[in-house]
Symmetry: D5
Subunit: 92 residues, 10 copies
């Protein structure tokens, strides 16, 4: 079951930079774990933004919710989530 997720990170300018860097490092490791698990199929950086476009492959909506809310930067994210189907023109 596929979902496109656009994650935008918005850090308040008076947040503690050391904490944010620590959260970012943990986030990167966790993002790679979810990729190795086959849950996070793709992640691309949006040019000129602290943002990414990602494709998730999950068993349920609840699983997607658990993954997203487990991310350390989740409290600083704006998310746009689009449920996806197979397209009749897709060759794969």
């Amino acid at each position: 079951m596929l979902f496109q997720v656009r994650m935008q990170i918005i850090i308040p300018h008076d947040a503690d930079r050391a904490i944010v860097q620590q959260l970012s490092a943990t986030e990167l490791a966790l993002a790679q774990k979810f990729q190795h698990d086959g849950k996070w199929l793709h992640i691309w950086r949006v040019v000129g933004e602290w943002a990414n476009v990602s494709i998730f492959n999950v068993d349920s909506i609840d699983e997607l919710h658990d993954i997203l809310t487990s991310l350390p930067l989740f409290p600083f994210m704006e998310l746009e989530i689009t449920p996806l189907c197979k397209h009749p023109a897709a060759v794969n």
Copy 2:
């Protein structure tokens, strides 16, 4: 060079349905050709819409423009185009 493209098809209600179906068939064949050529990496249907989310891999912005404007349904499309970079957390 990667671009995400969201294509939304909007057909006026008084358009000639036979012509639209013919354009759609040609479009499907062309979309598959661009996939086989490695230019159109992914295409997913957006649930509940005559719309798709796609990833293109092109050599230049002009090439992307030529591909998009060659699509038979292009006059009926609203397009959102997002240039993408490699993400530091991507494992592939």
Copy 3:
């Protein structure tokens, strides 16, 4: 797997009214069939609009897409789709 769907019907003023009424009747019968099948859990009319708020219970995103695009008035709909999870405060 639950989705909230808001359907807004927008009929162009120069559409054939007899055809629209026929589509509406077929739509009503189909909406009741999907309710009896347990796929369409709730449907409420939005006050002052030709619109409804509905809750669907489907096995997959593709099934939701098939249901929505099978509705006779689908070409006249604007849809807003929200994937839903179980809420920790829900008593049922």
Copy 4:
């Protein structure tokens, strides 16, 4: 008398986390009480957000106002409220 309410919780990043957690716990208990009273018919979590979609069944607009403003997290909520009618296609 039915109303759909979408509640979005927005906590400023420099709010006191202990106080917010305490408010959340009180909120959960109160939400369950209103469900047992038959006032709060449904509550679903919106995927990837600290938000819910709810259906309220109240005797008056004032009663809905009193319920919503009694919620401990009300000062941190953005609310969208939609009055609902019975739908002619509803089987229940």
Copy 5:
């Protein structure tokens, strides 16, 4: 039970003017009937627009829906509906 309703009339430029005038005349008579019945408490013209701001006093949301959809110009209206409560500062 009070609702504020803002009605904006939008007539397509190729609509039949004679029919629109006839609908407007019927609408005016019906609006006055609902005022005499105590259902339509206030109606004001918005300056520079074919629009009004109105206050309705109804027994239920369904009654409001029935009144609004009975108006002859309803198919040409955009409606904004706001449920209202008694205000603690109101002297009446």
Copy 6:
């Protein structure tokens, strides 16, 4: 001369609550004085919001400006102001 005014109160979460309560009390008294003076014809609470919909009857635009800016909570308000005319369908 009639104006509809929608007032939305937005208090920053780190404002001094005691001061805000004091301003609110003064505001309530002033709102009642303007009602007794016949300047503030109606005030209704918008459900689920710290907001109201009001109708003012003033001699000039400057008088309306003076009334609104004299309100103690004015610095925390977002205002939408709509000039109103007599409606041809109004029975009063």
Copy 7:
């Protein structure tokens, strides 16, 4: 009593051009009459648009409504109306 009005003219592409030109000519004459009467204080063309920014000086909101709806192109206008006061920094 001053109002700023922004008028945007939007002509459907299938409107009768001869009629529109005739309406425009009548409109120009009427706009000059209202200027000579001291009701229409200023009119400026917005660059690159069939639009103007105007200042009206009227005795009442109803008078402004009557002037605007008397304009031959009114059915093709989108209007934005802003009530204005004297500014404390104005030297005139």
Copy 8:
């Protein structure tokens, strides 16, 4: 060369009020100087807002930029700037 400028002043609630008042006084004096110089032709207060609508008559875009950025409250302004032409219906 004429430009319409709409200036909206937005003061953060935790700004130093004494400094803001001092800036406002300096701003008022400067606004009057630019009026006497013939650069700032008109200034009107927008009802119910800390905002104005102004007309500037300048020799170049750079001159307009220098005037606007010299205003003491410029860091607290949101500006909308519209280049204006002579209108064919203008009698002056």
Copy 9:
């Protein structure tokens, strides 16, 4: 005096294609004339759209207005116009 102009061409689907092609050809020739005259400094195609981003160098706002409204496709354009100054970091 520099202005950035974004031109978006929107052709109604039932417009006469032969006329539109003729207008486009005339437009291209005129755009090149204005470039040779030094009035139209730059023109770039926006990827995936019938739109361009252009820079104009004109003597007055009225000259810009005359150029834009002389373009054959002007009735089908949506324009966004941004007045530009010299930037302190510009090396040319």
Copy 10:
């Protein structure tokens, strides 16, 4: 490969002004270096805003991302990025 970038600088009112000035000075030097390198083709100030419109000429989307995120004021920027093609009417 050309991109138009609109950069808007938004400095929180409680930021350290000395630091911001230092970042601005470094930014100016870096902007000039990228211009001398032929990467930053044009930069214009938007009138009345701490904003610029720029044209970049880069070898890849990743190079554009690296340039933009290397700017000292990047954390305070809102960016709009538009990929550009050669226009058929361009004479150069």
